[in-house]
């Protein structure tokens, strides 16, 4: 879907040459979210902006849907790629409806089609189409503005989206909510998304793949679990943090542990349970946290219908640390 081949960007100022992006090679599958992760100045934003040619490539090539972007008409290319930036970049002189219809209008859609698309997108974003139609960006909260920013990028239904820290300027609660909504929408839309972030937690949560960059070089690319369980070098290890084992737990469900554990304590479930309970769909980090605060060191696992499935204790986590992520996904 998106193919980076020997992509390099060199900035020249006077005699100085700065390599912002250094010989990058990887590809992103259709329907995948690939998060570009790294500290500021690592080249992640530069690489993203090269995809819709806001920044020209010095050498190498980028292919989108099998076509070299440099061989395409620059305006057509950009109109076929959704683009979301950190401070939403909504146009203050236009109403919400006009903002969302910018690209469809340029593509020459008729009025009816634009109107329908507007309503459809607003509903998808959980906003009332009628209420916001004639409003201006300044009248909206930060979270609402960012939703409109995403809706605007989706307007012409582009197969590819570029997102440059779209949730970076929001407070943690709103950010979390928008991330969840974003994942829900992506489940239906199946866009191919390149997503820049500097936040490891966001990358783990959203990414199908995470690409970690430093000083213009690709340090490692892989699933979040691969990166957390198997950091390739010291930089990645430092960047993901010493608590990477804990972070990894957020990727796994109680269910995964149950599958692994033969000696799951069904036996202990004979009588009534008075302690804490946890859903089988909860992630393991939450489960561990609950276990640590449980008075007797055990919690009861229940399914969606509140049926008791078994009992979990801290020692069960030993099982999981010895298992390679690939095995878990096979079991799953």
């Amino acid at each position: 879907m998106i193919e980076f081949q020997n992509v390099t960007k060199i900035y020249e100022s006077g005699d100085k040459k700065v390599t912002a992006v250094n010989n990058i090679n990887f590809h992103v599958e259709p329907g995948e979210i690939c998060v570009f992760l790294g500290p500021s100045g690592c080249g992640k934003t530069t690489l993203l902006r090269m995809v819709n040619r806001l920044i020209p490539i010095t050498s190498g090539s980028i292919e989108v849907e099998g076509k070299n972007i440099n061989s395409m008409d620059i305006i057509k290319l950009r109109r076929s790629i959704g683009y979301v930036i950190q401070h939403n970049g909504l146009f203050p002189n236009m109403t919400i409806e006009d903002n969302i219809n910018v690209v469809p209008k340029m593509l020459g859609w008729d009025q009816n089609r634009m109107k329908n698309r507007y309503s459809e997108l607003m509903e998808m974003m959980g906003l009332d189409p009628g209420q916001f139609q004639k409003r201006y960006p300044y009248e909206l909260s930060g979270g609402q503005q960012q939703r409109i920013g995403i809706a605007r990028a989706l307007a012409a239904d582009p197969p590819v989206m570029l997102m440059d820290e779209p949730f970076g300027a929001l407070d943690p609660v709103i950010r979390d909510r928008l991330q969840n909504e974003f994942l829900r929408i992506q489940k239906e839309m199946k866009k191919t998304i390149l997503f820049v972030s500097h936040d490891i937690d966001e990358a783990i949560k959203l990414g199908d793949k995470v690409a970690i960059f430093d000083t213009g070089k690709l340090m490692q690319i892989g699933t979040p679990d691969e990166i957390l369980s198997n950091p390739k070098n010291d930089f990645v290890r430092d960047f993901v943090g010493d608590d990477r084992a804990l972070k990894r737990l957020t990727l796994l469900k109680v269910r995964d542990l149950m599958v692994l554990s033969d000696r799951f304590r069904k036996s202990r479930l004979n009588s009534e349970w008075h302690g804490q309970v946890i859903s089988v769909n909860e992630n393991l980090k939450t489960a561990l946290s609950q276990l640590l605060s449980a008075p007797n060191g055990e919690i009861c696992v229940v399914d969606d219908h509140n049926k008791k499935l078994g009992v979990l204790c801290v020692s069960d986590f030993n099982l999981f640390t010895e298992v390679h992520p690939k095995d878990i996904s096979i079991v799953r």
Binding site: L54, Y83, G89, M106, E139
Partner: protein
């Protein structure tokens, strides 16, 4: 809450000031002059408006395109020259500009128009450039990334978002121009300055006020009118953010 109250007090205060000036003008014989010479006043007011109107129109027609031109990437390197020139030009007193232009071109209303044009050019030029350059670069980036052509970026993003500053420049420039227009009499441009300067040199408060009061009213009136026009022209989405700023 108190904002509304203050606004009322301001308005009431203004009416008091205006009424007292008018009353004073009446008692010092200004209205007598106007009643005796209504045609003179009408003629001079017309002349004044013509001076201000023509010079402002010319200034708008030159300053905005010039401002747009020097913010285009091709000419970006030249903009500091133009801006420095505009800054220095604005420091030069308007009487000095009028006098200098007159000393080379002689008396006459063309001279006056030229001087007033030059005088009102700079605020508009400066605001046009500042308005366009201050458009949030992220908006431009978003527009580019969404596939707008440079023409679309200019007409849909840069120009509408710079309109507030451009309109403010026009407003300032026109209001100043009304005042400077009163000096145009000195260089043969006619206008209401005729009555003011004649009144001063004759020690006749009545004549002087029959020129000064209309000039003041004209300035305030144009300021209000252009303020209203601004509300119509400037995109609504920008108006509140700018009030807050």
């Amino acid at each position: 809450m108190s904002g509304k109250k203050t606004e009322k007090i301001v308005k009431a205060g203004l009416y008091v000031v205006v009424i007292s000036i008018l009353g004073w003008a009446y008692f010092s014989g200004a209205f007598q002059f106007i009643i005796d010479n209504p045609k003179d006043l009408l003629y001079l007011t017309g002349q004044h408006l013509k001076l201000v109107g023509i010079s402002a129109a010319l200034a708008i027609a030159t300053a905005i395109p010039l401002g747009i031109l020097i913010t285009r990437p091709k000419f970006k390197k030249l903009d500091w020259i133009v801006l420095n020139f505009a800054n220095i030009g604005q420091t030069v007193p308007s009487l000095a500009i009028l006098a200098l232009v007159m000393s080379y071109f002689g008396l006459g209303w063309q001279t006056a128009i030229f001087a007033l044009w030059f005088n009102s050019l700079l605020p508009i030029l400066r605001n046009t450039v500042a308005g366009i350059e201050n458009v949030n670069p992220q908006i431009i980036d978003a527009g580019k990334g969404m596939g707008m052509t440079s023409k679309q970026i200019f007409f849909k993003l840069e120009l509408p978002n710079a309109l507030y500053a451009i309109m403010a420049g026009i407003r300032t420039s026109v209001v100043i121009n009304v005042g400077t227009g009163a000096l145009a009499f000195l260089i043969g441009g006619g206008g209401l300055g005729d009555l003011i300067f004649t009144g001063i040199s004759l020690y006749d408060t009545g004549i002087m006020l029959s020129g000064a009061v209309p000039v003041i009213l004209l300035a305030v009136l144009l300021d209000v009118l252009l303020g209203k026009l601004e509300k119509i022209i400037v995109p609504r989405g920008l108006q509140r953010t700018l009030e807050a700023a």
